[in-house]
């Protein structure tokens, strides 16, 4: 990865023409050949870029990037403030979060996010057909089996229904009600859950992780 910070102007000529007037910018030249010009803002999106495959020609004060489609990016360097190369090695790829186990962990730590007054009895509460994600009790001591999914679909409601069937055979627990929790729940799953007297809760993963949104809330 080559990082160049320079005072420059940039002209793009291709499907349209675009001009970036003089300013200090970061120019990234990636190992695969991609060239991206960033300002000090605007999150991930470059002001202008040229994907690989392309050809970068460096001349005194001018970089020219061309690609087979006939597009051209001309960077006129007025002053180079920094120019460095870094070997980033092989990227391990994006590990997506929001997985069920993490949701389960977060909800086990904060069962009140499911319903006010909930307290955790046990994670992975065993039944004869496998463990249900959480077993909770409310303020009045009523038992609730909680099934947690990233995407709530009909299958998840069916699974919870089977757990409830077994849990309600236990005289120390019954009556056990069901709570179906997911980051998003399909309308059909909501209908089926409601029809079976199972509560459903859409959980906000970011909120559970304590990530603050820019959109502030009253409560």
């Amino acid at each position: 990865m080559r990082l160049v910070i320079a005072r420059c102007t940039v002209d793009y000529d291709g499907r349209l023409t675009a001009h970036l007037p003089t300013a200090i910018r970061l120019i990234m030249v990636k190992a695969d050949g991609c060239v991206a010009i960033h300002a000090d803002g605007g999150a991930y999106k470059p002001l202008n870029w040229m994907n690989a495959p392309n050809r970068l020609r460096e001349e005194e004060g001018t970089w020219t990037v061309t690609n087979p489609k006939g597009e051209k990016l001309t960077i006129a360097m007025e002053e180079v403030l920094a120019d460095s190369d870094h070997d980033l090695g092989i990227d391990p790829g994006l590990q997506k979060d929001g997985v069920e186990s993490h949701l389960q962990e977060l909800l086990a730590a904060n069962p009140g996010a499911l319903r006010h007054g909930f307290r955790l009895v046990r994670r992975e509460y065993p039944t004869d057909i496998g463990p249900v994600d959480l077993l909770c009790r409310d303020d009045e001591g009523n038992a609730f089996a909680v099934e947690i999914k990233r995407r709530g679909e009909i299958d998840g409601v069916e699974q919870l229904t089977r757990y409830l069937d077994f849990l309600n055979r236990d005289p120390t627990l019954r009556p056990v009600r069901g709570v179906f929790a997911a980051q998003e729940i399909k309308p059909q799953a909501k209908v089926l859950a409601t029809d079976r007297d199972i509560d459903w809760v859409v959980v906000d993963y970011d909120e559970l992780r304590g990530i603050e949104s820019d959109e502030l809330r009253l409560f």
């Binding site: 209908v191 029809d195 859409v202 820019d214 959109e215 502030l216 009253l218």
Partner: protein, 364 residues
Amino acid sequence: MKFRCEREALERALGLASRAVSTRGGSLPVLSGVHLALVGNELRITGSDLDLTISVGVEVAGDTDGITVLPAKLASDIVRAVADGKVEFAVEGEEAHISAGRSEFSLRVIPADEFPQLPEPAANAVQLDAAVFRDALRQVIPAASADDSRPILTGVLMAAESDGLRLVATDSYRLAVRDLPGTSVLTGDESVLVPSRSLNELARVLDAGAELTLRLGEHDATFEMAGARVTTRLIEGEFPNYRGLIPASQPNRLTVNRELLLDAVRRVRLLAQEATPVRLIMKPDILELVAVTQDVGQAHEAVDASYDGAELTVAFNPDYLLQGIDVTGGDEVTLETVDELKPALLRMVGSDEFLYLLMPVRVS
């Protein structure tokens, strides 16, 4: 069942009743239909999804009394499509025949005995001023949440106040409170939570000049007006303690012409894309509005205003701000603020009956 009536009247009644018809299918397929009951010259058309029921009466030239259930969408589409004038309707066996002009339709009916018995409205009735109530609904409904995962917030709280009735709605980003002094519906510290969807439908049905009667039951509320009845199941649960959210006093106060502000926000919002907010820069005698969308562009507009307080920039979700200004009413509005992160209070100048509390958006 057999009757004749004007197409327009039948279309309106079918259209209104169909708005309550279940679109999600569910365990009772009969609820995808509208129930028609004819007694003498009065036809009553009812649609329901069990949470909301809308029943509309139409004056017809009745021939043979009876009941039937028709597929709601198809029946509405047919009546809307046929030529203006008289529509003849008859049910024979399992088929309904609709004819108008030179068009004839026959439709398979849904067995009427499968249509659920809907609850009778409560006996206790109170009268409401339909125009005032409709105006109040228009002000608070936009602040109710559309997110079913927090059902309490999808409702509008109707609560007794010492001098009348109060309507409250919040989606946690904004709060709308409307007082209706002199309207006695509830007493003491009574309150009910009515689904905003039902009230939205009521507002459509409500004719400003009509008498409006409210019957509150234990689990449902029924609104009756000339020829129409809207029954809604109430939401059970505790509404958030909204009173503590309303600040007693705020040091900064902006006063601005409502229409000018509304138009300016509408224009500037064009450049508030990708969930970016609109910034309000408040200075003495001037309000500046700015929206910037990276890689797209920016908008700036100045509006004459009077401002008393420290110079301040506060950013808001443009849609929430626009809805607030729109429903506040009056010629001039005030926006009271503490700082860029605390809720701002929008009110109409010269009236304390409505307030709109709006949380800012954090900007760097």
